[in-house]
Symmetry: C2
Subunit: 337 residues, 2 copies
DNA sequence: CTGAAAGCGCTTACAG
DNA sequence: CTGAAAGCGCTTACAG
């Protein structure tokens, strides 16, 4: 166990090997020609000495930081936490693999000041936005500053590079699966209708009916269910209308629906089927009777981060990417994508 | 709205004002003498031009990064998430106020490789550990590398600087409150007995009895309740022994206890009192019939971060700090600390 | 293939 | 109070 001596620098390495710093730098970075023999000598020595270049100095010379920022909403609620957490894990993984680090910024909707500090302080090379709003102050600011940005999820702002799961296909497959089993009275409860994700999911829901040659019964479709009251109300009405199944647009809605069904009648869960989207909550939370489409938030973060790094490093990338999902039916599991 | 020109540097400022970079640097940092007049001219110009020093360059010159790392357990479960999230928010707040940024590292118990990368890459000036284990590889590594560290929570490792809430006093007050109301058969369900926090809480529990001149009935005390099964088992036994109250050592235990009581008999919650520790879950989740001691995780993060920065900047600090808590009884709220 | 030198944008002894 | 110069640890034209 060595004691911590003063750090080795590139100059020390050069001195020891009797070459110039230039050569050592080139041998390490792989840029510029260096004889194979010299490269080996350098490599061997730095391995042996466990020399690590000072990334800060490297960054200064290249006007880079090898850091990215991730903006997390400070006001996200418990239901969403696992999603952001998993997403964050994926981002950190991807970053570490390419020797970047992740700087976390919490920000509330209206106030991009935390982000501004980081940008003006030259602390990062790019930013991933984990939640984009319709009028996104953060996104606008970054655009103006010409900072590379990638957003997680779907935003209406098409100028923003964004990565998301294929919610539309997912909802279509889930719904088709139900229709194939002869279920016809399919209810749906969704959140804010102006959210892009809500629209995409409903689009998939409608697609499934269209593909089956059936009409969508809009009287069984509820939007704007953002609070317990509204969801319970919707469930009550759906029960009255004898819905055979309720498709929930997110984890929170699903939890409320299940609770409401249980409270109304313990056996209801055996007669009314529930299907839902599952964003990251540990599986055990959802009842085993629920059919789900599962999204891998960690993977989403991973892909998002890699896309951002590609942009930073000047590689060309697609403006919009869709990730696969997993359909988990009650009888079996089908991988789709 | 200005377009993004090439960044202003200290040399530009010096040139424009007809002084040296040295002077500008001093005027900004406040170190070294500068005439009041010069200082004002500099200040005014950089305000007007919105000049921000390049923190990276400053860092290189001072061998600092103005970043800290926060290590978050990658394997934490849903119950703990709000705690870490709130803690993280507090840390970021405190850091931003002092112009530091926060770099997030996810790490699993055995594997400190993510942390090592960051340290060897010279990316941070210090580290806050949000969960310390008995044999903590991360803590050991940092100690060996002589990196400033502060831990959130109580660790058995007394050489580690740590910040925590005063769990012992909190549990004592909570328990005393119950005893004062004439309750005698007080059950307690706690997690892993080897955890310092569990011991502290039990210590407070016992303190309350001692202060009241009463004996602790150890047959009503359960440790090691880490899974649903064990907790339910404990509840069953406590009901059999006619416990009048159940003190839960954490949110997860409390949730299971409440669920179990409800399942056993819907009215049980009115006869058996439940008291618990509340670490960050949104209040509505816990039943209103539960007496709680509440801890402010965000504040904990805030204080922890400030302590770390004090260390980094060479200020002297206390090795162990205890933060206050809030006792929330069913009838009223008492601030304590 | 290799190196001397300038530069990234700041700080800080040292000498006025 | 102020400035010229060296330095933080790397990279990269430019010239051999």
């Amino acid at each position: 166990m060595e004691t911590v001596e003063k750090k080795l620098t590139i100059a020390d390495v050069a001195d020891y090997l009797g070459v110039s710093k230039t050569t050592v730098s080139r041998a390490i970075s792989g840029k510029g020609r260096v004889s194979e023999e010299t490269r080996k000598r350098v490599q061997q020595y730095i391995d042996q000495m466990d020399y690590k270049p000072n990334v800060i100095a490297k960054g200064l010379a290249q006007s880079k930081t090898f850091n990215i920022a991730v903006v997390i909403p400070a006001d996200c609620d418990m239901q969403e936490l696992p999603f952001f957490q998993n997403c964050m894990c994926g981002i950190c993984d991807a970053a570490a693999k390419r020797d970047y680090d992740v700087l976390t910024v919490y920000s509330t909707a209206g106030d991009p000041s935390g982000l501004e500090r980081i940008i003006t302080n030259h602390k990062v090379d790019g930013v991933v936005l984990t939640r984009t709003l319709v009028e996104d102050a953060a996104a606008d600011y970054l655009k103006r500053r010409e900072v590379p940005v990638v957003a997680v999820g779907s935003s209406a702002d098409t100028s923003l590079i964004q990565i998301d799961h294929d919610h539309r296909s997912a909802c279509q497959e889930l719904t088709s699966h139900l229709l194939k089993q002869g279920i016809r009275k399919v209810g749906m409860i969704g959140g804010n209708e102006s959210h892009v994700v809500t629209r995409n999911r409903f689009g998939g829901f409608a697609d499934a009916f269209r593909m089956a040659g059936l009409p969508v019964d809009m009287s069984l479709v509820y939007f704007g269910a953002e609070k317990a009251k509204e969801i319970e109300q919707a469930v009550d009405e759906l029960l009255e209308k004898n819905a055979e199944c309720i498709v929930c647009m997110d984890d929170m809605i699903c939890n409320h629906v299940i609770r409401k069904l249980r409270e109304t009648d313990v056996n209801l869960l055996n007669t009314v089927r529930v299907a839902s989207f599952y964003g990251g909550i540990s599986g055990s939370v959802l009842a085993s009777q629920v059919e789900t489409v599962e999204f891998d938030a960690k993977k989403l973060g991973f892909v998002t981060c890699n896309t951002l790094l590609d942009i930073i490093e000047g590689k060309q990338i697609a403006v919009k990417q869709l990730l696969p999902y997993k359909l988990r039916t009650i009888e079996q599991t089908v991988i789709a994508g």
